[in-house]
Symmetry: C2
Subunit: 256 residues, 2 copies
């Protein structure tokens, strides 16, 4: 029984990619079978997993345009070991072509269906926009995981995200839920962060993950080495926090 | 002779909105006539300028769909005094409608043309995507101002941004230039930031602004009060840095 999570928030720079890559590595290290899907034409998750996005023969663009199956596009990330569906700028062109196609919003869900038995967790890194790529991810997902940087704009944008989730639920994916809200880039010395964190807990209650991801420079350095923090600096506060998040998710898995 | 600048970078969370709002306030305080345009459906520049985006009668969406003129939509921001074209989530709907319209990419340029004599600087805050809204901003602009957070992903994305600028230059706006690359959220204690800063200077040379915007919590706090940092905490490092940037831009204006 696999669990597909769309990691999404249209606010930019809140830690979506950092969460997708490091959570994938942490879950895989705990013995889960994990697939990471890069649905952002920036290809940051692809690069953070050690791949050169400019030399990809096949990528997510091909899957969405029905020109390749997931099996043909999937690579195994090294050294973390999770499966990866890479992306590059061609995904932006594919999105444009998708807009006029019939069934454009269910492309990813249909492509993923035969793969579900092969994985325990499927994580989808979304771009900073509520566009056709993000909608595809929401339609394919069981739940959303919402990274939130504890700053002012973060709260602002949540209402339009929740509205979009509701629309997807009504139109295409009735069981789409919220796995949780994850506080990222958290700087405990910063009063604003504490205030926003309190507001999140007031709004979302138990849906806020207990795990807090601290601001930790090792998380920002790791991608330039093409490594998740677990392999770049296993004892860093960042790597530890994503290990804690992975364990919290596995606990929640048994509650589903 | 007005100078229109598109403040853009498809990488999320690099300080586009923070730069647009604080630069607008700083230029206005130095006696320049400034118009700030919010082209992001998130409406962060609108909210940071003290407006309630949920009660807007008219907004940028109306301008792009030819349902209102700029005069009808423009408000004066208080206390900063710059003109503002506000935006909210309706802009996302407008973008979707624009895709199939003839001349979709030149809507903003045509709407702005009669306003140019009224302003010295026109600043356009862009969303984190190379979409129709950003293309409209590039076509309407004389130059781009590129905020770059000195972290790994920032360098990654610059090549696709420069490629898009080149395409716009060839197709629609031959004189589109780069006003400069602005280092934002700069943390001098962080080795990665220094390394990325050196790479930017190696790539862009004199196009990198001398002004560096430091990471300064007052810049993150100010938007929740609906104020630019100049009015929230005039002596903060953030407000001072944007005053310095404004002066550097005015100097560059005389070189154009
Ligand atoms: N906990 C953290 N501590 C320190 N740096 C972090 C942390 N999380 C993310 N970063 C850095 O902050 C920046 C933004 O993070 P990231 O790119 O993961 O966000 P995103 O939401 O995926 O952005 P986008 O909206 O562009 O897709 C990156 O440079 C990343 O390396
Ligand atoms: N120099 C700075 N010091 C401290 N915080 C900053 C600074 N610049 C921006 N911020 C904060 O960092 C976050 C990201 O900045 P901002 O929203 O301006 O980026 P953006 O590029 O406009 O994001 P998006 O891609 O979502 O449009 C915001 O919470 C903002 O308040
Ligand atoms: Mg990302
Ligand atoms: Mg912004």
């Amino acid at each position: 029984m696999s669990w597909t999570l769309a990691i999404t928030n249209q606010k930019g720079g809140v830690g979506k990619t950092t969460t997708a890559v490091n959570l994938a590595a942490a879950l895989q290290a705990l013995g889960q079978r994990v697939l990471l899907i890069d649905m952002d034409p920036q290809g940051n998750a692809t690069v953070s997993s050690g791949l050169d996005k400019s030399t990809l023969e096949r990528s997510m663009a091909d899957v969405l345009l029905d020109e390749a199956t997931i099996d043909e596009v999937m690579v195994k990330s090294e050294p973390a070991g999770f499966g990866l569906l890479p992306a590059n700028i061609e995904l932006a062109g594919a999105e444009f072509q998708l807009v006029s196609r019939i069934g454009r919003e269910i492309k990813l869900r249909r492509a993923l269906a035969p793969q579900l038995p092969n994985f325990d967790f499927i994580l989808i890194d979304c771009p900073p926009a509520l566009n056709t790529l993000t909608i595809n991810a929401l339609v394919a997902a069981d739940d959303v995981l919402i990274p939130v940087q504890c700053e002012y704009f973060a709260l602002e944008g949540l209402s339009s995200l929740l509205e979009t989730i509701e629309q997807v639920r009504l139109a295409l994916q009735p069981s789409l839920g919220v796995a949780g809200v994850l506080r990222t880039l958290y700087d405990a010395r910063n009063l604003l962060a504490q205030q926003v964190s309190e507001q999140l807990q007031a709004h979302f209650g138990a849906q806020v993950f207990n795990t807090l991801i601290p601001r930790n420079v090792r998380l920002a350095e790791a991608p330039s080495h093409g490594l998740p923090a677990l392999f770049y600096d296993r004892n860093s506060a960042g790597a530890q926090a994503y290990d804690e998040l992975a364990r919290e998710l596995i606990d929640r898995l048994s509650l589903r």
